[in-house]
Symmetry: C2
Subunit: 348 residues, 2 copies
Amino acid sequence: MDRAEKLSINDVARLAGVSKKTVSRVINNEPNVSPKMLKKVQSVIDEYNYTPSPQARALSLRRSFLLSIVHDNPNASYVTEAMYGALEICRPAGYELIMHPCDFSKPNAIDRIIRFASHLKIDGVILLPPVSESVELTSRLKEIGCNFVRLLSTKSEDEVHMIYHNDGAAVNRIVSHLVELGHREIALIRGPENSQAANQRFAAFRSALKNKGLELPKNRVALGGNTFQSGIECAEWLLMSKHRPTAIFASNDEMAIGAIVTAQKMGLKIPAELTVVGFDDSPQASRMWPALTTANLHVREMTELAAQKLIAQCSGDIDAAAQVRVEVEPTFVQRQTTDVPATSAENA
Amino acid sequence: MDRAEKLSINDVARLAGVSKKTVSRVINNEPNVSPKMLKKVQSVIDEYNYTPSPQARALSLRRSFLLSIVHDNPNASYVTEAMYGALEICRPAGYELIMHPCDFSKPNAIDRIIRFASHLKIDGVILLPPVSESVELTSRLKEIGCNFVRLLSTKSEDEVHMIYHNDGAAVNRIVSHLVELGHREIALIRGPENSQAANQRFAAFRSALKNKGLELPKNRVALGGNTFQSGIECAEWLLMSKHRPTAIFASNDEMAIGAIVTAQKMGLKIPAELTVVGFDDSPQASRMWPALTTANLHVREMTELAAQKLIAQCSGDIDAAAQVRVEVEPTFVQRQTTDVPATSAENA
DNA sequence: CTGAAAGCGCTTACAG
DNA sequence: CTGAAAGCGCTTACAG
């Protein structure tokens, strides 16, 4: 199976008694090979378990068969799910995957990504949010001829280069659930203002409330940074207010969990005295008690689709790339942090 | 900065008016280049931002400058920490990193890893537990001439090829802490029997108790699978017993958190009515309430050391590889899940 | 100290 | 349908 010395195309050609060009044709499933030749070559390939050298192919084809996920995301499970999703598609297709984390807040971040991609002749990159939201990055990638697919939270026209999660439906579902339970005093912990995804969720949440005839006054919106700590601080602010909300929707699980911890420290029972909903369905959401009601983004499925789209691009099949499904709808996951509002004296 | 067409060594040679061999010498910092030549070449390199093609170097050197982390680990934060640690060292040294997750329980798992490494001519791999515990894998890697470093939970003689976390000291620290608080009825949720790391922690825990003059009877040891769910089940079993423990040490955070959730469901207050300690310091440990007392493994630091060791091997410098520090000691992290034992009626 | 030749393992472009 | 030649961008081994 694994000989000490790997064969080259020349060895295979010699052993099969044909030219190396014929071996090349067989490797690449090219037409115009006689059945006889094909059989001779194939049997040598099988016997010695020959696989062509990726480095040599890369050099002559001027491409690497390397794909990359470029991201600046502190969420470990998001990153690993994306990795597993992409790998699922890459490996059978003969591509390898290089994870490329970066600090996107640095001024030369884009230069570094471009240098990475052009130096390694990366065939294509999958961009995870928030990196995916940069128009400058995508235009630079076009300049150097590097294929890409963006994971976004909002639909763009460019179906060749993006997959998006349509948060709207999930946010509606969450709001309906809260309103059906009887909540009217609903607060939001939103994500940072420079994040498109956070802005989308904010907008979707506000309009969903409006459709139910509910307001979202300013003192019911706390600005968080998508972190646990910011969830704590936002919840402190929201729950200190005289007329405190009966339910809090946080734009991601991290902040929702921060809010829960704050409430527990204040002695509030969840969900009896405060309802909390998150967004992401991170591993922790199901590994706490009460378990967090949230929405699952299907990150793995999204990156599988992204990898399919990207590989279609790399094969030069733009039509196929455009036809890979573009939209993934997050799913509402009801657990134990939501209940009917308490009719407590404080709220009277 | 990023021209449409990248220069080749021939272009640089032409522009500098020297032979390509001279350019090659400059790129590789070889001696015996006159200052005059060096300056001419270097200025062209700088002006055009030339970087040599990794694919071409790979082909002629018969190596790839690719390193890999091979793992079968469900813990997302462990995997990403390992990745960030390795990347920190790889990038400045001119190596790229390929994450290679696998299902190590599959019968052909080792074959697949070997095929991956030899096909891509991977220069070296970092093996994460439990993959790192396979002697068959390391001997196969030697056969194909692939460098490796193992992350282990126990010291082996082979300082060139391993980094280990010495759990013993941290386990002692945990036991001392529990005993000082006054606990005598201490239970263990141990990890799976086929894991060396789990067996090590079990042995260290038992001997630490013994040193304190305490027993660890069979009904105080529950066999878990390192998962949240198994933590729940083990805790149910331990806490159902008539004479229930006042403290539980779980062999990892996942199981400790399962135990906490179980206790909370049973209405036990933590830490007032039950003390729980984990091991790992996963992100969740500090993002729950009460926050989990545990031990930090310093995964990132370990993989940084592993990458240093591996790169030294790849450079052929075995002495340097042997000299990279081998041991990392986990740190005790005291948080809020430990307290003096309750003097409750049930335990009378 | 410098460079011309040959080669790494593939491919493309062309001839037959 | 098949193959000989030249080339991808580097390196090693050797000559001067």
